[in-house]
């Protein structure tokens, strides 16, 4: 791999050991993908996870003196101050989150603690070179904005933020952004939840590829696109897609495939969405809670829930994870009071896959997010998958 003199200096430790480690990781990645050189990035998003490995690596860079050249936005861990009020947080978990916050602050991250940076605070332009980790973020900025990122690991994105560089390969290159498999959506896409099911069932049929969708309407919501990308990437490591007539690199079918013939063609019917829901859903019955916000809910989604529960009393716990901006908006707009009066919570800066949820371990809940159901298996949490309205009916009745 050809490095500039500056990049070579970074690698050789002129800017400290932390910078050298970051560059070493990027060079190894670049060489494994036959990247000819590095490119400079202008944005990054790091999927901070508050897990031990995350903390170990960021502290390693920090103690080596690394500071970010491009300040990245970051994912949520959990809101320690909120959960201390409503639950018990162990000394160990308190220590880890405090150290995680401190390390990311020291390395120079922008502490957004939000997994939908592409909707607020870190919105790239068309064609911009970036390094975005976080499974809903990568496909969103590649596909919906036409910005350029590979499917970064949290740590490779952090190395990119520290050095201001990323290897030139994969989805940074025009040729690799062309569509590969045509996905004709025949299913009725009735609400944002159906896009969760759509995203989850496509990779099984197409493999890891760039899918090109037809049959998705022009007025598709940001929430639906957020869901689609999150689940494509969770179920099958899909980092970019096109929607004919909607996304910028697919004004026509020809555009999407760069004038070539699709390698394959699949269609998605209502029964495919239905069977996804059944396969990935726990058995129905009594439920203890509803958990939303994987990815973080938007103000529109918070508004929908407030509308469904205002003046009612919940029979099970209700938790909505969102950004601090959305929570502030919810407070200003009265939705927070509506939801809290019914017995629900809106918690900001928090991910569904964190130790703060220990009081829900071994219990069954409802969610609209297959990604939420998938990653919480390690925490022994069980989920019935339903759309938002059905989830709310379930918390009002205590069963589904």
């Amino acid at each position: 791999m050809l490095l500039t003199r500056e990049e070579q200096s970074m690698l050789e430790g002129k800017y400290g050991e932390g910078m050298a480690t970051a560059m070493k990781v990027l060079v190894a990645i670049g060489e494994s993908f036959d990247a000819p050189r590095m490119v400079e990035i202008t944005r990054a998003h790091v999927a901070l996870s508050n897990q031990e490995a995350d903390l170990w690596f960021v502290e390693k860079l920090v103690s080596g003196g690394a500071r970010c050249v491009v300040s990245p936005t970051v994912n949520p861990g959990f809101n320690l101050e909120y959960f201390e009020k409503v639950s018990h947080i162990s000394d160990k978990d308190t220590d880890v989150i405090k150290r995680t916050r401190k390390a990311y602050q020291t390395i120079g991250a922008t502490l957004t603690y939000n997994c939908t940076p592409y909707l607020e605070k870190n919105i790239p332009r068309f064609g911009e070179y970036t390094a975005f980790s976080e499974s809903s973020a990568t496909p969103y900025i590649n596909s919906v904005y036409g910005a350029r990122t590979n499917r970064e690991a949290a740590q490779s994105a952090l190395c990119a933020a520290v050095t201001g560089r990323t290897p030139y390969y994969g989805y940074l290159i025009d040729e690799n952004r062309k569509g590969e498999v045509l996905v004709e959506v025949e299913a009725d896409l009735k609400d944002d939840f159906d896009y969760n099911m759509l995203g989850y069932c496509v990779p099984e049929k197409t493999g890891v590829t760039v899918p090109v969708f037809t049959g998705i309407p022009k007025d598709v919501t940001p929430e639906a696109l957020m869901n689609l990308g999150a689940q494509l990437n969770t179920a099958g490591a899909v980092a970019m897609y096109h929607i004919v007539g909607v996304t910028p690199e697919a004004q026509t079918l020809e555009d999407a495939f760069h004038g070539e013939t699709p390698k394959g063609r699949v269609s998605i019917a209502n029964r495919d969405l239905q069977s996804m829901k059944e396969i990935h859903s726990a058995a129905t019955g009594k439920i203890d809670f509803a958990l939303f916000g994987c990815p973080h809910f938007t103000i529109r989604q918070v508004e929908q829930i407030a509308g469904l529960i205002t003046g009612k009393e919940l029979k099970a716990e209700l938790w909505i994870c969102t950004s601090s901006l959305t929570r502030t908006l919810a407070e200003r707009m009265g939705f927070l009071q509506d939801i809290e009066s019914a017995g629900g919570h809106i918690v900001d800066d928090t991910c569904i896959d964190q130790p703060c949820w220990h009081h829900l371990y071994g219990k069954k809940g409802v969610t609209d997010s297959p990604k939420c159901a998938y990653y919480t298996k390690r925490r022994n949490m069980e989920f019935v998958l339903r759309n938002v309205e059905e989830c709310i009916e379930a918390v009002l009745r205590g069963e589904v």
Partner: protein, 153 residues
């Protein structure tokens, strides 16, 4: 610094009683161990119990089997941008990480995780390798030199 000498469809040759195959280094290193093969399913190391190395993902072709200290041969990684590193990190803490990994489809998350955790990782094996290798065979992975040696059980 391209690995020009390593071809995409490297040839197999017989050596010291084992079949030898060319491969492409992703994360360097050397390991010998028992093969565990997943033909179709990608692996998310977060859904592996770190204390036992047993795959807990529902309906996975390796569900219930242990990947601990195996030479793991599988299509590639999947899962969000944080879970692979933590999965491998936790497995390493318990001494249950795979000894080496052989994949068909490299993607950045697994590649970065293997490089950071220093687990040897290679790709670009010939189809003859996949036809020959079965779970239980002994596999020597010399990632740094781009050579895999297979001894049938």
């Amino acid at each position: 610094m391209f690995d020009q000498d390593i071809t995409q469809h490297g040839s197999a040759s017989r050596k010291r009683g084992g079949l030898q195959f060319d491969c492409h280094k992703i994360a360097g290193g050397y390991a010998v161990g028992e093969a565990l093969v997943a033909d179709n399913d990608s692996i998310c190391f977060y859904l592996v119990d770190p204390r036992t190395g047993i795959v807990i993902e529902k309906n996975h072709e390796l569900e219930g089997q242990s990947i601990a200290r195996k030479v793991l041969i599988f299509p590639g990684g999947k899962g969000s941008s944080v879970v692979q590193l933590d999965g491998l990190y936790q497995l390493s803490l318990y001494g249950n990480a795979p000894k080496a990994m052989v994949i068909r489809h490299p993607e950045t998350v697994l590649v970065a995780s293997a490089i950071i955790m220093e687990v040897p990782l290679v790709d670009r094996l010939a189809d003859t390798f996949y036809k020959a290798v079965k779970s239980g065979d002994q596999v020597e992975v010399n990632a740094s030199q781009g050579i895999i040696t297979l001894v049938k059980r």
